[in-house]
Subunit: 380 residues, 2 copies
């Protein structure tokens, strides 16, 4: 319901006059089109008909092996056999909903959390409990309290450059969270789509590295290659990986083969490693422009996160600020964003918050949009 309301809200952003900070899209100029052209030929030559034939539900083995090597560099404990390829991360979330959630089951999520996950789980009618967060993301004591007092089907977290908040849970806190998950023998769904998009600071290992037997780890090629290929993946304990594969079979048989072979060669050739710095360069500068513009234009009683990576900045206004009300005025002034309230599992919470995307807009557009937004806020 909330998701449909949001879709309706965002429909107006298709207007080309509008500068949209609302989406979650990578910049098309970040796509490695020349590399793709080269890999197109390579895939056809190397894999021939196989790259267009039906394939195994859990994915092409060459891709699963390449992903395993990639994840090992994140210090993760993975083997190709326990990795499955999905139609985007959304495909993995859909599968998780299908195998785990019975009506009324309780899922613990960050406050705020990713609305696409809520949407994927919705057909199975779960309930939610929100884990309290501060500037470092999930507060471990809040998670402990929830797992102690409630029967939780799984804990869903985006620990790195979270969507929508941009926050990253620091290493020390990850260790505490892992300890708590383990203590209650709970299941963690660690959604990590933005891992590679770090513009400053040091990488923080996924929580999966600490509790691999309690974690289903999700990631994607959408942010480092191209989202239109719809190539996501998971690494899960063997029994869960088997269940996910069985569930996925009835949904789409398997993820498109051609995209899988392209992604495999993108890793195998070293092209990802070569191309990633170009993506980071584009986004780093856009993030800096957004933070500088917020400093320059926004009223003093507003605050915002200063992410070290990812795609989003999260803005919090004073208590009486209404970001949904502001939305329509902003649209009239040709600027769009997502009102933050849509990212909370509890309806009505976070009315004074906004999610701003900085990846799919130029520096000039970002400064103009933030300036205009601050004027609209001040006019309220």
């Amino acid at each position: 319901m909330e998701y449909s309301a949001l879709s309706e809200l965002l429909r107006v952003t298709a207007d080309l006059k509008i500068i949209s900070l609302a989406g979650g899209l990578p910049a098309p100029e970040s796509f490695p089109l020349k590399i793709i052209k080269k890999l197109n030929d390579l895939v056809l030559k190397k894999y021939k008909g196989a790259s267009f034939q039906y394939g195994p539900t859990d994915g092409a083995m060459v891709l699963r092996e390449e992903i395993a090597q990639w994840l090992v560099k994140r210090n993760m404990k993975v083997v190709a056999e326990n990795i499955g390829v999905t139609s985007g991360s959304q495909g993995a979330l859909d599968t998780i909903g299908k195998i785990f959630i019975d009506e009324g089951d309780i899922i613990a999520v960050e406050s705020p959390t990713y609305i696409g996950a809520i949407d994927a789980f919705a057909p199975y009618n779960p309930k939610y409990v929100e884990i309290q967060t501060d500037e470092d993301g999930v507060i471990p004591e809040s998670l402990d309290q929830i797992l102690k007092t409630k029967k939780i089907k799984f804990v869903y977290l985006i620990p790195t450059f979270q969507n929508p908040s941009g926050k990253t849970i620091p290493w020390e806190r990850r260790k505490q969270i892992a300890k708590i998950i383990k203590k209650y023998n709970a299941l963690l769904i660690e959604d990590d789509p933005y891992n590679s998009l770090r513009y400053r600071g040091k990488p923080v290992d996924p929580i999966q590295t600490l509790i691999p037997n309690n974690t289903v780890y999700l990631c994607t090629f959408s942010k480092v290659l191209a989202p239109g290929l719809r190539i996501g993946f998971y690494s899960a304990p063997k029994d869960i990986a088997n269940l996910m594969m069985a569930a996925k079979q009835s949904v789409d048989l398997h993820t498109n083969s051609y995209g899988q072979y392209l992604a495999a060669e993108y890793l195998k050739t070293g092209d990802l490693k070569k191309h990633l710095p170009k993506i980071l360069k584009i986004y780093k500068s856009r993030l800096e422009t957004m933070l500088t513009s917020l400093d320059k234009y926004f009223p003093n009683n507003f605050s915002w996160t200063k992410p070290e990576g990812g795609m989003f900045v999260w803005v919090t206004g004073p208590k009486n600020f209404d970001a949904v009300k502001l939305y329509w005025k902003a649209i009239k002034n040709n600027v769009a964003y997502v009102p933050g309230t849509y990212f909370f599992a509890t309806p009505g919470v976070g009315k004074n918050t906004m999610r701003l995307n900085f990846t799919n807009v130029s520096e000039i557009q970002i400064e103009a949009a933030i300036k205009k937004l601050s004027e609209v806020i001040k006019s309220l």
Copy 2:
């Protein structure tokens, strides 16, 4: 459950020594690899980043428009706005299950029917009623009786070159079926993946042409371009199309963009029209070899369908013949097929039947496999 049992059964067919008549795979030599190479370059040049960006859930408009024109040539009443692109036909079946089926709902299916549909609907726990069939497929009186006496959520049919039977419902009978569907204002799911694979005889228009407001029509590029692209599509009455789109959004956001643009150009350039005769030539000869070999080698008390197209021949043995029992003996002799019993919604039915695929095996292999199979049958 049945589907898992079948997957287990078919696992052995991966052995390269085995001639498999079990699968439902197109021949990789039928894929237009040269055309794809050309279209790869064209898509990159023409659509650039858009062909790798996130896209609309209901599909790229250029593809939906091309599909509409294609279907109009089948005398169908369609408009691009009511066409949606799915991740294979399986994606459409998954979506149909999600929006229509509540636990215990009754679905009417052909006897036998497509097991992948049963698998897609399984998570929503429907019940099935089997429509009786003869050599021309669905018997209209049986359908009428079912719709008269039971509350049916929808009728699922594969009227053309049916999987598994290879049967095609003749035009006169389609008119009767359409009249019955309309009389009870029922909903028909017309699954038509093999429509283009006609090797002889005259095309028969889809039932959708008679009752467009009561039909969700499914088709795919898997048999005329390549299945690994996972591009299927549906045409549905507007209200149903909207529901299907909303349900699909949470499953995979959208079908892979690149495959969609490739499929659009495959139609737009006329390449499908040019390439299709090459596919038909390969399969026609294989079907003829299979029918000739069955005539030559199989015992007199066996009968089989003589399809005018599609991918399968359906064999019926004498009443006491057990095709599951034969399966393991056939495997020992390096021949595989699918025991027909797995295609019936009622467990235990059709034990004396077999589905034989002829598209992904050479003429020499087909004759050798049928000869060997007949020897194993005679040795029982």
